[in-house]
């Protein structure tokens, strides 16, 4: 992973199998379009020197908006609903967790 300044290296290291969330960002692919900053409702990304950086990693609630709208494919996140009711219903009815949905 190339370093683009200290903050990026640190936040990326945090983003590896950390159990906090599934958001992963590869700054090498970023073209600096700013779309992730626009769509994220938790200000997880900010722009610095025409690159996106993860400024607020822990606030991500895995909505998937940044991944869907990043034209460079620099972001990945396992999006899904952070809804305990839906997940427990899925567990009880034997559906896959990934298919858990709000009712």
């Amino acid at each position: 992973m190339t370093s683009y300044g200290k903050s990026i290296t640190i936040t990326c290291a945090k983003g590896d199998g950390n159990g906090i969330n599934t958001l992963r960002y590869n700054p090498d692919l970023c073209t600096g379009c700013g779309m992730c900053v626009t769509v994220c409702p938790h200000r997880v990304f900010t722009m610095r020197e025409r690159k996106a950086i993860l400024a607020n990693y822990e606030a991500c609630m895995e909505c998937g908006a940044c991944q869907r709208n990043c034209p460079a494919g620099a972001i990945s996140v396992e999006s899904g609903v952070g809804c305990a009711g839906a997940m427990m219903r899925a567990a009880l009815t034997g559906r896959r967790q990934e298919d858990a949905r709000c009712e």
Binding site: N21, M35, T38, A65, M88, Q97
Partner: protein
Amino acid sequence: MTGVMRTTGVITPKDSLDHFLARFGWRRNEHTVMPGLYALGSPTGESPVFVTANYTLSFDALRKALAGIDAYILVLDTKGINVWCAAGKGTFGSEELVNRIAHTKLTEKVNHRSLILPQLGASGICAHEVKRRSGFDVEYGPVRASDLKAYLKHHSATAEMRTVRFDLKDRFEVIPVEITNLLLPALLIALPLLFLKGAGSITGLLLIILLGTVLFPVLLPWLPTRDFSSKGLLLGGAAAVILSFAKMRGDQSLYLFLYNMVAAIFQMAPWTGFLALNFTGSTTFTSRTGVRREIFTYIPVFAAMFILGLVLALAKGAFRAWGFL
């Protein structure tokens, strides 16, 4: 249907009644608007196009915010679900948007090629795919429709407008549906309780419901811990302590008082904790990873506390008979 339907920026008393019922979850699938293209005011070929879901609360919030502006509103078929949840499900999605653009012959109505979408729809939409397939640029407006007029001045949103909040007002708005959702399970628990233990036990149940559905959302930001479950446990525990002091009698032995207090904590806290965990579904703040971790951590805790509470309740008679309390 390719005709343009008409709408206004006015919210009638009938609309308000519909909003009220929708918030209570009354006939929750019937608060729908016909999908398609709407004219607000007298739009021309240069007027902006706003996209929303066919849920009355979403559609009405948008047209109210745009009152006085000439615009088109493109309503997607999200099966009567709001923008945020429909985007998560994918019904507020690129596919539906591209199809709806073609279906309503939008390219013949406007000369420009740009659409303004609510930011919270972005998790269902892929802007560059929509551009490739329909020729329309997707512009994400602010999170809240009420910020739209400010946004339209420069077509740019402040960081504030781009961030979800969960203000007191928003937290109040989820209370009705939380209560309605609990009604049936609560009734199922209340009836056997009523027969087994009499009316007194119902107060406990009502208190738990009040704590879990009203006090929890209201007090959310001030409950000290980070995850929802422990916030709920704390709230239930604190309420149990307060309740014990309120019920305290002067002639009571200290042991009996403490016993009752501990029992009350174990009987109430797991329920409020569980309701708090369920509340994650009403917010836009919790990630699936986080919620999964909460489920695995706290469900065993709730279960253990519940069993302990039950044991304490059943053992009380025995302890008293032996003269311990």
